[in-house]
Amino acid sequence: MTFQRILTLSTIAGALAASPLMAQDHTQHAAGAAAATAGRPVKITDPSSVVLIVNRDSNDIGFMDIATHKMVGSVFLGNNVNPHMAMMSHDGRYVVTGGTRANKAYIIDVPTLTLVKEIPVGFAPEHLAFTPDGRYYYQGNPDDDSISVIDMVSMTEIKRIPGLNEPLNITFTPDGSKAYIGNYGAHWVGVVDVTRHELLKRIEIGQMSGVAKLDPERYLGEIKGVSNASMSNDGRYLYAADGDLNIVGVIDTRDDRVIKTIRVGKDPWRAYMSHDGKYAITVNNGDETISVIDTSKNEVVATLEGGPSMTGVNYAAGKAFVVSATSGFVYVYDMATLKPTGRIKIGVNLQLETATTDTADAKLYLASSTDHAIYVIDAASERFEKVTGVGLYPWGTHIMDSKDNYCH
């Protein structure tokens, strides 16, 4: 953590009312946040020292110390809130989450672990993302086919962007000018002008073949479209997998067009970018494989056996770790040879959810919902430690600045 960040946090905790941010007239949140946190003890001084744990059934966000694996605390959001995903602001001051069953967004003050704001949003808020400058946070409302734009200064919903189809994940360009929205209820990626918070265009990832249209039961019954557009390391290309079309569309963000479609396995959930940017891996739950895409050639260079119900990919220690939700295994692949190296048995009768990787690329923090635990996996040795008492039904984890912060 930088000195600047420590300074900022101590300032917030010690003298909220005196901070320059608080002094602005338009910062309605300042009064509310200050009132809510005034006098409360500082529990977290370094936001990068904790893992966020999204607990769906205990309706809270847990904070676990990375060094000790002890719980620092948790913030209860309310009965039946059922949070889905949490994310820390870039400066580490706030954590935001969407309460899927409460139709609200929640803002938590990190230093004091205080819920400072509840904001009504659209139906069933799930995935979310901050703009690169941290000013806004986009909250996807899949059942409302909209994105709620939350202003982090006023802590209000300043706009709701309509016209989407089951929007799931949100990806911002590095310069923050555009956001790309994965629409799971359609086969296109939405492009949002972040300056005006307006849907600019829809990029069709691919077209169904004529013969495939004979299969209305599949294509009209339940759409498995685009869940996410994953950004290449240079910020130029997006890799958007489409579940029904079994393809990954490569979008050039300069002119927002699909420059290539790559055929992968069946029912790809999304593409996960390796930390060095060389590869993108899709988990294909239709045929229980993974497809490894070489991003320099935009070609599939390996199709390897995976497991059932794969929910995510984490990269660490030169390996890819693929979470198989229902089998109780994490599948491991060597990213140098692009071959499987085995699998880690986490347990039986488990429902594994998603994991985040620490910033050292050394450990994974895997949420396991049915046994209410977090499994800390050492990437090099592939040994793991079970941490209990983290909350009920942990659905996901998040570490500030991690390259593997994702949800499902």
């Binding site: 059934d57 059922n82 013969v211 070609e299 295994f329």
Partner: protein, 455 residues
């Protein structure tokens, strides 16, 4: 009711007002809200603040009421808990001196609000997991035989049609343990009876026991042990599903139709029967298999016509190519009275995302004669060089030479058109040359169509 956490610093008066509000029932909320606070506020701003707080509390209360409707009742589930118990039977959540770890179960209530759809899906999934799954795989194969060379043969100019239907049953018996049964019925005439080649021109013919009858093709129980690294299958099995596998030349329902491009004849298994297959798969690209199977419907005991098979396979990515799987197998059997052995290899190597090559080789002992030999090579193309995205096409060549002198060359090309998820139509063109010892060779051109539906 969940206790309301009083914010620090709020006046006692306000806390009392909040407590009073929260104690109200829904029916009296409005009345309570209109009542004056226990002590009158002294200034207008304080009154305004109190009203604001009251509104907030009412909104919170409405949220609580909404969340406790029928659909939002707390769920009750049973949780497996690891605890630590000392000598007095006192439970702790953390380990400590004198505490022994124990596993127990406890009921818990959670606030998981679900919609009607989620409730229904959950119930349906639960019901499905307890029921017997049924699947159908049906196919109709039309083939025409045109004699190319050789003396007049009865098959010349004839058309053949074979209809096949497999009915599968699966059921989960226990953790990682399933039961599977496959009942097959066939009707029609394949060309193989009149062509009389060394291998079958229609791979479905191998399933044909008696026409218009249902036959039990497979019936087994499979369980997985040792962290699911070892799979054991026991019952009436088809060991060709486990040995001599090939990614692109192994399935007569979607790939080549000719049996020589589906199996390796040197494996020698002609009928399914009682047996066992053990597979060790650590999921690192390597696997080892062992199995035995009886391959005679007239056997009197398990020692008759018994085949033992072993195989090792490894996934490679040689020369920076795509992944390829290389398998080596060995078998021994007593079907001819004496023990005879055979060995073979089967490999498939992906060269590009679209192109996969395959090859097989096998050699088998033949009592009193030279060894039988077989090889096949070919390729499969998909992804980008097809009409529909999930289509595939392939070309393969197979050569069989028996120790007795008979030989066969077979060349087949096919295009598999994926109509829907459940229907496929494929077109086949096969050229086969039979070279019986001491007799003039005869060759045929066999165009065919296969319609397949699985659901």
């Amino acid at each position: 009711m969940t206790p309301f956490p009083f914010p620090a610093g709020r006046p006692a008066l306000l806390r009392a007002a909040i407590a009073a509000t929260l104690c109200c029932t829904a029916g009296t909320l409005h009345a309570q809200a209109r009542q004056p606070a226990p002590a009158a506020p002294t200034t207008a701003s304080q009154r305004e603040q109190e009203l604001q707080n009251r509104v907030e509390q009412l909104e919170r209360r409405i949220g609580d009421l909404e969340s406790s409707t029928v659909l939002s009742e707390p769920e009750t589930s049973v949780k497996r808990v690891e605890v630590y118990v000392d000598e007095n039977g006192v439970q702790y959540t953390e380990p400590g001196p004198g505490r022994t770890p124990q596993v127990t179960y406890q009921r818990e209530r959670v606030f998981r609000r679900q919609t009607i759809n989620e409730k229904l899906e959950e119930a349906l999934d639960d019901a499905a997991s307890r029921s017997v799954g049924v699947g159908v795989d049906a196919a109709i194969i039309l083939q025409n035989v045109q004699q190319d060379t050789g003396p007049d043969a009865p098959a010349d100019g004839n058309t053949y049609e074979l209809a096949s239907a497999d009915i599968f049953f699966t059921a989960g018996l226990a953790q990682n343990t399933i039961f599977y049964a496959d009942i097959v019925g066939l009707s029609g005439t394949p060309p193989d009876n009149e062509v009389g080649g060394l291998t079958l021109l229609n791979g479905y013919t191998a399933r044909l026991v008696n026409q218009n009858e249902l036959n039990l093709r497979e019936s087994w129980v499979r369980t997985e042990l040792a962290n699911q690294r070892v799979g054991l299958t026991l019952g009436r099995v088809d060991l060709t599903n486990y040995f001599d596998h090939n990614a692109v030349a192994n399935d007569e329902t979607t790939q080549f139709l000719s049996d020589a491009l589906v199996n390796n004849p040197m494996l020698g298994l002609s009928e399914n029967g009682a047996g066992l297959a053990a597979v060790y798969d650590p999921k690192n690209g390597f696997s080892a298999k062992f199995g035995y199977q009886q391959s005679s419907s007239t056997a009197q005991n398990l020692s008759d016509s018994l085949f033992y098979l072993g195989e090792v396979s490894k996934l490679f990515t040689p020369f920076n190519l795509g992944e390829g799987t290389y398998r080596v197998w060995f078998r021994t059997d007593n079907s001819s009275g004496d023990d005879q052995s055979a060995y073979g290899v089967s490999l498939d190597q992906k060269l590009t995302a679209a192109l996969t090559l395959f090859a097989r080789y096998g050699q088998a002992e033949n009592a009193g004669l030279d060894d039988d030999e077989f090889y096949s090579v070919g390729l499969q193309l998909k992804n980008g060089v097809v009409i529909n995205p999930e289509d595939a096409w392939g070309v393969g060549f197979a050569n069989t030479e028996l120790g007795g002198g008979d030989a066969e060359d077979l060349l087949e090309g096919y295009y598999n058109l994926r109509l829907t998820q459940k229907m496929q139509l494929s077109f086949h063109l096969t050229h086969v040359t039979e070279k019986p010892l001491g007799v003039e060779e005869v060759s045929y051109l066999v165009p065919g169509v296969r319609f397949q539906a699985s659901f």
